[in-house]
């Protein structure tokens, strides 16, 4: 018998963790002499009360959906892919090469091409750690951390020495041609009378992120491969006994995970900056970990958690703009969420389990 109902595990535990993180963050805000309630109001106003605020919230959420799904898929196979950051960087390189060197007639075709490019490059970057884990037993956490740094150095080299237009100072590629520019929400939803999402970077990639959620759900719970991935995550010896090859599944899982992380570059590189820049990922690979943990590795959970973090990011930017609270507050909140949902999970869970047991005893 389960110690507590499924809904409590899926909803109550993350919510209580979030509440704990919020209380501690409020204390931090009080500590630096600001008013947490006013700060929260400001965040809501800035992120959710205007359509341009939503435009930023959804833009950030798009990034976090991709990286969150990437971490979640790996979690199902009991693997911890910390390398989303690096995979997204290399995915950006794929997007840039496709956009710069192939003359696309229309953005729809360009988007198809760059989707393939981003996924392939991201997957390729995840392949080596996946292979090393499967074949050589090298700890995936350590190798993916190392690959983040290697990716950063590699991208730096490529941008400075190869892709930078001659005469340009900053390490960035040339601008992508007009025909590859993705339509933003502003262009898609504004009518003649009202301009919606003005100046916000949210773009058509958001819908690809939604599709990715659906695809991951189908993959994990409606296909044989997804079953094999989950079986491997539950028990390696059990999976082996069932005729599932751990080596094969480990590598395939990492390829999917890397491809999802790579897809994030569609949003940042093709959708927003329209050229390849250094540090386009801005830590989104790590936020993916928080998102996957909060979302309990389920696509629906990931979607909601990504929206929440999108709100936090946009709200945090507003706070930094109008108050004395720096943007780094968001990193603190993110750290607390990861700490409570991931590492101190048992601290939240144990009292809840006891409570449900006590309730059940009363009924029985």
């Amino acid at each position: 018998m389960d110690r507590m109902p499924h809904w409590a595990d899926a909803v109550l535990v993350p919510l209580i963790s979030l509440l704990l993180a919020a209380i501690l963050s409020a204390l931090v805000i009080i500590g630096i002499g600001e008013d947490p309630i006013a700060a929260f109001k400001l965040m809501v106003d800035g992120a959710l009360m205007r359509s341009s605020g939503w435009g930023y919230t959804l833009y950030y959420a798009t990034n976090f959906i991709f990286t969150g799904l990437a971490v979640a898929v790996a979690f199902h196979a009991k693997m911890f892919n910390i390398g989303g950051e690096g995979q997204a960087m290399i995915g950006g390189l794929g997007v840039a090469l496709i956009c710069l060197f192939i003359p696309w007639p229309h953005w729809t075709l360009a988007l198809l091409g760059s989707t393939v490019g981003a996924a392939l490059f991201g997957a390729a970057w995840a392949y080596i750690p996946g292979y090393l884990q499967a074949r050589r037993g090298s700890h995936i956490v350590i190798t993916t951390i190392m690959f983040n740094f290697i990716a950063a150095a590699f991208l730096n080299y490529v941008l400075v020495n190869l892709l930078r237009p001659s005469g340009a100072m900053d390490p960035a590629s040339a601008r992508f041609p007009e025909s590859t520019h993705l339509p933003t929400f502003n262009e898609m939803f504004s009518t003649a009378e009202t301009a919606l999402f003005r100046g916000a970077p949210a773009n058509v990639t958001f819908f690809i992120a939604l599709l990715a959620c659906l695809a991951v759900w189908l993959l994990m719970w409606r296909t044989r491969l997804g079953y094999e991935i989950r079986a491997l995550g539950h028990s390696e010896s059990g999976a082996l006994y069932a005729g599932i090859s751990p080596v094969r599944i480990t590598i395939i899982t990492m390829l999917i995970s890397g491809a999802l992380a790579g897809l994030m570059a569609l949003n940042t590189t093709q959708g927003e900056s329209e050229r390849l820049i250094l540090n386009a990922t801005e830590g989104a690979g790590f936020i993916g970990i928080a998102v996957a943990l909060m979302g309990r590795s389920h696509p629906v959970g990931v979607l909601f958690a990504a929206l929440l973090f999108g709100f936090l990011y946009q709200g945090g930017a507003e706070l930094a703009l109008w108050t004395n609270i720096p943007r780094e507050l968001i990193i603190v909140i993110q750290a607390l969420v990861i700490l409570f949902t991931g590492a101190m999970d048992n601290m939240v869970r144990a009292p809840l389990e006891r409570m449900f047991l006590a309730l059940r005893r009363k009924e029985g």
Partner: protein
Amino acid sequence: MDLMTILQVLDSTVRLATPLLLACLAGLFSERAGIIDIGLEGKMLASAFFAAAIAYMSGNVWIGALAGVGSSLLLSAIHGLASITYRGNQIISGLAITMLAQGMTVLIAQDWFSQGGRTPSLVGQARFEPITLPFAEALAPVPVIGPIYHELISGHSALVYVAFLMVPVTWWILFRTRFGLRLRAVGENPAAVDTAGVSVIWLRYAAVLICGVLCGLAGAYLATGLQAGFVKDMTAGRGYIALAALIFAKWRPWYALYACLLFGLLQAVAVRYQNIDLGAFVLPVQFMDALPYILTVVILAGFVGKATPPRAIGQHYVKER
């Protein structure tokens, strides 16, 4: 390249290797006891900030260093709580601690000093001064030995000597004391240690706290010895390089020294020469930056030697009931 240039590069190698070495030995204690610590970076960062901030306020670098070690210890205690008491995921805990430090240091720095997440520059007693070893001046004119002693061995700050001294001390503690034997045993087979009547929990907490002290020293050196003050994200991945060095060293103290000196040398060369012209081709500076990580992956892959971690690393110990 003359002797003086070589000595200058080696001198900066020693300086740059010091924080790596302290953090690497910190990780060594923790991981030998079976607790993975990828939060070295965060603890260093927190300590760097508090060391610089308190040193600036008090004007005394030692009080600053103490505050730095204290902050690092606090984060260690959180890591211990999460990974030992609550049996949480040690990797996630380490990651969260690093993020916590990245956010909080800037937040507090902005609140205290309003300089965009940095501390004011430290001067005089608020920094670690170089120590001139005896006879350094007298020996300086002696050819070869004189400059080596004067430039390379003498003239570092106290924490550099502490760091290098910690190598034999760590070796001695781990391999020549009862505590060290138990600490290593708890990382290999905690059940056996428990059967012998020794507390697994206590030993692991002790290891994690030692790790905190050493990380604290590493951060304090960074902000008050190597540089004069704290700037946002000043550890710049050093905690991860230390982690890489730890694996490169196969979790052994003397090898840790060699690994940290090697990675320090790479940093020193990358700082001094941007691109290295090898005649046939040019070695880009980015390659030098990435080399520690590439080497670690190669070692981890087991193509050159095999790095075997402590057997019970990352595993929780649950007493049978």
